[in-house]
């Protein structure tokens, strides 16, 4: 029953304003229960997949006629990413939201964000993907501007302008495809594109799609909005933003279009490889000079997204597995780091690393979870970040891309250095005078951070069964490329 992933969040998004008027706590309860239900559905969607990909045609109309929803390996992976971080952020924001006014609006926007993300991931129709991409964008613009301070509004405005330009470019590309093949179902488009003579048109659409989705996911030439938007957003929202939103809006949609509709070609994969390399190096070099905790994390998001794009751009099966695995891991430890930065800000009131005086003694749980996250982003063996970076580097060597592999190793070193700096200033540094008034953050925030930390360690230790059950079917979907169409229309 595929439409559950959209029915539940939309229904509860419409219910929350009314529930919020009746009783204050009801809205919070509704949002959290909907997120937990979604997580439960996405976990057992792995087992649905055992019996092959599912197609659900909406309104009873067969695939090319109406809109259809598709559940295949890639969708299951993205559903897991979206709902795990969604539950963690919502549980975290039970206490965090006390700093903000009108939590009812916050929970409505959050469940709309979840509805947009889930709807975008399971939709099998190009224009439907654009509509849900737009829901996610507008919900994240409003959430970035939720605390109405001057910096947040300015960051939200910049994010809004660049996001709308990206949406227009994507809509223009969809228009060109519609003009040349006049159908909107992804499978139908790819089957009629294979024998269509217009090569230049497809290349131009490819260029527009890459520019639009790279703008949405903050890859380097288009990353202007990301370092401002992430620090400005409230902590659970910046965890969702960098952990999930830039991945689903940017990378997932790019992969779906590139691999399944237009079909990967040498040009496209080399563009992806070079985009990845540039984003990796520029992102981490910019991150060194940062003293604002969240800004540093935002720059690291750009470099880690560059890793994922580099891995998948290689095109070899191992590269794609490495890229997708890193996508999953990055969403885990990056949102954990953002939640930690929110906890530090919640307790001490400042995000500047140099003003923090080592809070590990007063905030044991936060510093422990942030240690786990920092080690796994730096790629220390037992934790999850190490395995995915290792697979990508091996795949790079195998694919003969020596420069890329060396850049990967160099970036891993610099990431390690930069996160040791974070640990030293924020947590480990022994403070001389007694730091008064810093208490550990309330329970629910700790619960969310522990949940993600345990997941980080768990995926790190048992990464082989995890890769086999979730990442491999996702990479097979991408490796199939355009005969995705036969699969959908055939079934």
């Amino acid at each position: 029953m595929l439409p559950i992933f959209v029915i539940i969040p939309l229904g509860c998004a419409f219910l929350i304003p009314i529930a919020g008027k009746l009783r204050q706590g009801l809205a919070q309860l509704l949002a959290n229960s909907c997120a937990l239900l979604l997580l439960f559905c996405s976990i057992n969607s792995i087992f649905w997949l055992k019996s092959g990909p599912k197609i659900y045609s909406l309104g009873g109309w067969p695939a090319p006629f109406g809109i259809c929803m598709v559940l295949d390996g890639l969708t299951v992976l993205m559903l897991l990413v979206v709902n795990i971080i969604g539950v963690a952020s919502l549980v975290y924001s039970i206490d965090y939201i006390k700093k903000f006014t009108s939590p009812v609006l916050y929970y409505t926007l959050f469940s709309l964000l979840l509805a947009g993300l889930n709807g975008m991931v399971i939709s099998g129709d190009l224009f439907n993907l654009f509509v849900f991409l737009e829901i996610t964008s507008i919900a994240s613009y409003s959430l970035v501007a939720f605390g109405t301070e001057a910096e947040e509004l300015e960051a939200a405005f910049k994010y809004l302008v660049l996001g709308s330009v990206a949406s227009l470019l994507i809509l223009l590309a969809i228009g060109l495809l519609l003009g040349s093949v006049s159908t909107l179902n992804m499978a139908d488009i790819s089957s009629s594109l294979t024998n269509s003579p217009s090569r230049d048109l497809i290349l131009y659409c490819l260029a527009l799609f890459i520019m639009g989705f790279a703008l949405k996911s903050g890859l380097v030439p288009f990353h202007a909005w990301l370092p401002d938007a992430h620090p400005a957003a409230p902590a659970p929202m910046s965890a969702m933003l960098s952990g999930v939103v830039i991945k689903t809006m940017g990378i997932y949609a790019l992969l779906r279009v590139l691999f399944n509709i237009i079909g990967i070609s040498v040009i496209a994969s080399s563009i992806l490889v070079w985009l990845g390399i540039i984003s990796m190096s520029v992102g981490v070099l910019l991150a060194i000079g940062q003293w604002d905790f969240k800004r540093l994390l935002a720059y690291h998001s750009i470099s880690q997204v560059g890793y994922v794009i580099f891995g998948i751009g290689l095109g070899t099966p191992l590269g794609i597995i490495g890229g997708l695995f890193h996508l999953f891991n990055h969403s885990l430890f990056k949102s954990l780091l953002f939640l930690n930065s929110g906890a530090v800000e919640f307790a001490t009131g400042t995000r500047r690393l140099d003003q923090l005086k080592g809070v590990s003694s007063e905030m044991p749980v936060t510093s422990a979870t942030s240690l786990v996250a920092s080690l796994s982003i730096a790629g220390i063996p037992p934790l999850c970040g190490f395995w995915s970076k290792l697979i990508i580097i091996i795949a790079a060597f195998e694919a003969g891309n020596i420069i890329g592999a060396l850049v990967c190793i160099f970036v891993a070193m610099v990431t390690l250095a930069s996160f040791l700096k974070v640990q030293k200033y924020a947590f480990i540094q022994k403070s001389q005078e007694i730091v008064s008034g810093i208490r550990e953050v309330p329970l629910f925030m700790l619960l969310a951070m522990l949940f993600l930390a345990v997941l980080c360690i768990g995926v790190g230790l048992f990464f082989m069964p995890f890769v086999e059950s979730v990442i491999r079917p996702a990479s097979e979907v991408l490796l199939e490329g355009t005969n995705y169409a036969k699969l959908i229309l055939g079934a």
Partner: protein, 178 residues
């Protein structure tokens, strides 16, 4: 065919006027003119549904835009430092290069589109035939947006709902508790 391009050229002129004029209010009114031109285009291109919706949405966005410029009293004529001039120059030539490349490559792509006036109506044709039988609606566009592709319209209604909640959350009194 000719009147379409005339109106389109008038819209381009209106757009340039909206961009270059200094006074904000007249720039918004020029945008309104471009919108009305778009409504005329829709009527000429046999899309009455869209003409009504575009006209009415145009009026509403004008009211909202005028609300944004109502308090402006001083024009922006301050001295601009050298550093900002260089940055504007950089933006300026970046935009020119982007626009030139954009039109150059779009010309290549447009050449391969089916020429204007006879589209490949692969799905459109089927919708037209089966609209009355399958849904009973005589307005085929309504049949498409509410029955064949009703899921899009659910997404559409959610977009409007999100932007309403977004506007209310941005314009509320104070974001954070002091």
């Amino acid at each position: 065919m000719i009147e379409l391009s005339i109106i389109l050229i008038l819209m381009i002129i209106g757009a340039v006027v909206a961009m270059e004029i200094d006074d904000l209010l007249s720039s918004i009114i020029a945008l309104g003119a471009v919108g009305i031109g778009l409504t005329l285009e829709f009527l000429l291109l046999r899309a009455p549904d869209l003409a009504i919706t575009q006209l009415v949405v145009e009026i509403l966005s004008l009211i909202i835009l005028i609300r944004a410029t109502i308090e402006v009293n001083k024009p922006l004529a301050q001295a601009v430092s050298l550093q900002k001039k260089i940055m504007h120059l950089a933006y300026f030539c970046f935009a020119i290069i982007f626009v030139a490349l954009f039109i150059r490559f779009s010309y290549l792509a447009i050449r391969q589109l089916p020429d204007f006036g006879n589209p490949i109506m692969k799905m459109g044709g089927q919708y037209a035939e089966q609209a009355l039988k399958k849904t009973g609606a005589t307005n085929i566009v309504s049949a498409i947006i509410l029955d064949f592709r009703g899921y899009d319209t659910l997404g559409e209604a959610t977009i409007l709902f999100t932007s309403v909640i977004g506007v209310i959350s941005v314009l509320r009194l104070s974001g954070r508790k002091r």
